[in-house]
Amino acid sequence: MSDAALIHARGLSKRFGELTAVDGIDFDIEKGEAFGFLGPNGAGKSSTMRMIGCVSPPSGGTLRILGLDPVRNGPEIRARLGVVPQQDTLDTELTVRENVIIYGRYFGLSRKECKVRADQLLDFVQLSERAKDRVEPLSGGMKRRLTIARSLVNEPEVLLLDEPTTGLDPQARHVVWAQLFRLKQQGVTLVLTTHYMDEAEQLCDRLVVMDRGGIAEEGSPLELIQRLSSRDVVELRFAHDPPPVDEQVFDGRVSRVEVLPDRVLLYTDDGDALVPVAHERLHPQSVLVRRSTLEDVFLRLTGRTLVD
């Protein structure tokens, strides 16, 4: 299985002097799947992505992309990748369309081909009306969509997206997600990093949870939630400091308790049934019942929340 993997890593490391950004991680990404690296800022996600993008040589371990060695075959690999970097690299003085055309030229496409593809791609990301405008005044969401359009100009087999919707408003995020979903349906392999659990749940077939340069867990979002969390979570907020709470109080109905600075989380299989008990015994100011998410998985694995 791992031989056929599109991207294959064993013991992959990245060090910057004293700092170990990525600490010996293993993963395999298969053709056609949407694979996520979920973790907080500084977990090593971007360093991993830059190694996969062949712009950052690994400090140790094995990395194979499309069966090739990123150090020796960088240009060949990059010719088949699309990259949406965390920080925009658009030329804001050029027009929207020119940005796509010049990028296509980097891949050696003919001018004519670049123009045809630019028009198709701008249509795909709904930017055709802005094609002749300069990039500078575009909104953050539009710039992101333009970056995605640009990354598709070489018809990549794998699309690398580093924090694709960070900094976008909710509406713009949904537009981007819809477009990425369409790409996935077309068979493009998506590899993305995110520190948003909802993004990971929306887009990823499979993901790894990264923390402090390592991989803490791996699986599909649903599987991880089932395996590492309970079905429901009861969130309690208190007017003053929360009282000491432990599982015993709930006679085995609560599998785990997390005390956060602003709230207490009770993990249980039947949240609704627990609400009256929680009210009676702990006297919280407010109670909220919700389904478990990847946020809870992350909390369980690392003892910390994803977004600080």
Partner: protein, 253 residues
């Protein structure tokens, strides 16, 4: 090389936005310089002990070399930092098949192209002022490109290494400006005191000025000219070697 040409195309593409103003500057610049210095100041100089030839003929190739130096230095300073830090276009290119050395060579090709256009215009203006005295003057054209590259290659190495743009102030104030004034551009370096004179001889600009002056005056001889060319090529090669390192260190981390 084809990779480098793709990176060159980006710069050429961007240049289309400013080419009109740029061409006007390239024509008006030398006319103003030659009128003020060659014709105006020249009247005074020629009345005194002089420089052996009419001052216009003396100063014209000096200004051409100095202009090439300034243009090349500028084009390899802020634009390189911009491509790394502001427009981040180098990072965009590196996500494609291009390698860091392709970015370097592509950009230097663009600087060479700019130098070729600007110095060609300049030579035509010079001919109009009657400052060309030999058919060999045509060789001042490639010489001007070479002088430019001898500066732009090491400056691009510096720009890719530099962390903060303030560093360019030092480059322009303490390197470019003194070199512009004291490398035999406006007066022979033999007028400089010992010490300063030797420094001037070591600058690529003086080598360029001396080479081009002999070419336009028709006094060039083979071996000294070749020595100048070799020395300038050394600066190009050394600069490119250094730049290949600083580009890689900065961009491929």
């Amino acid at each position: 090389m084809t990779y480098a040409l793709r990176s060159f195309e980006y710069w050429a593409y961007s240049y289309r936005r400013v080419w009109r103003g740029s061409v006007v500057t390239s024509i008006v610049g030398p006319i103003l310089y030659l009128t003020a210095l060659g014709v105006g100041l020249g009247k005074l100089v020629n009345r005194g002990p002089g420089v052996g030839v009419p001052y216009l003929d003396f100063v014209a190739p000096g200004i051409l070399a100095a202009t090439a130096m300034q243009l090349a230095t500028f084009e390899s300073s802020y634009p390189v930092m911009a491509a790394i830090r502001w427009t981040r276009q180098f990072h965009a290119m590196l996500a494609t098949p291009l390698r860091s050395r392709d970015l370097l060579i592509g950009h230097q090709l663009y600087v060479a192209a700019r130098l070729a256009v600007v110095s060609a215009i300049y030579l035509v203006v010079l001919a109009g002022f009657g400052a060309l005295h030999s058919p060999w003057a045509i060789l001042a054209w490639p010489a001007a490109v070479l002088v430019g590259l001898a500066h732009s290659a090491p400056v691009s190495a510096f720009s890719a290494w530099l962390q903060r743009e303030e560093g360019f102030n030092g480059l322009f104030r303490f390197v470019v400006m003194p070199m512009f004034l004291f490398s035999g551009t406006f007066f022979p370096v033999t007028r400089l005191p010992h010490g300063a004179r030797e420094i001037a001889y070591a600058t690529p600009l003086w080598n360029g000025v001396d080479l081009m002056r002999h070419l336009t005056l028709g006094t060039a001889s083979l071996w000294p000219s070749l020595a100048h060319v070799a020395y300038l090529l050394l600066w190009v090669a050394g600069g490119l070697t250094l730049a290949a390192r600083t580009y890689r260190r900065r961009l491929v981390t």
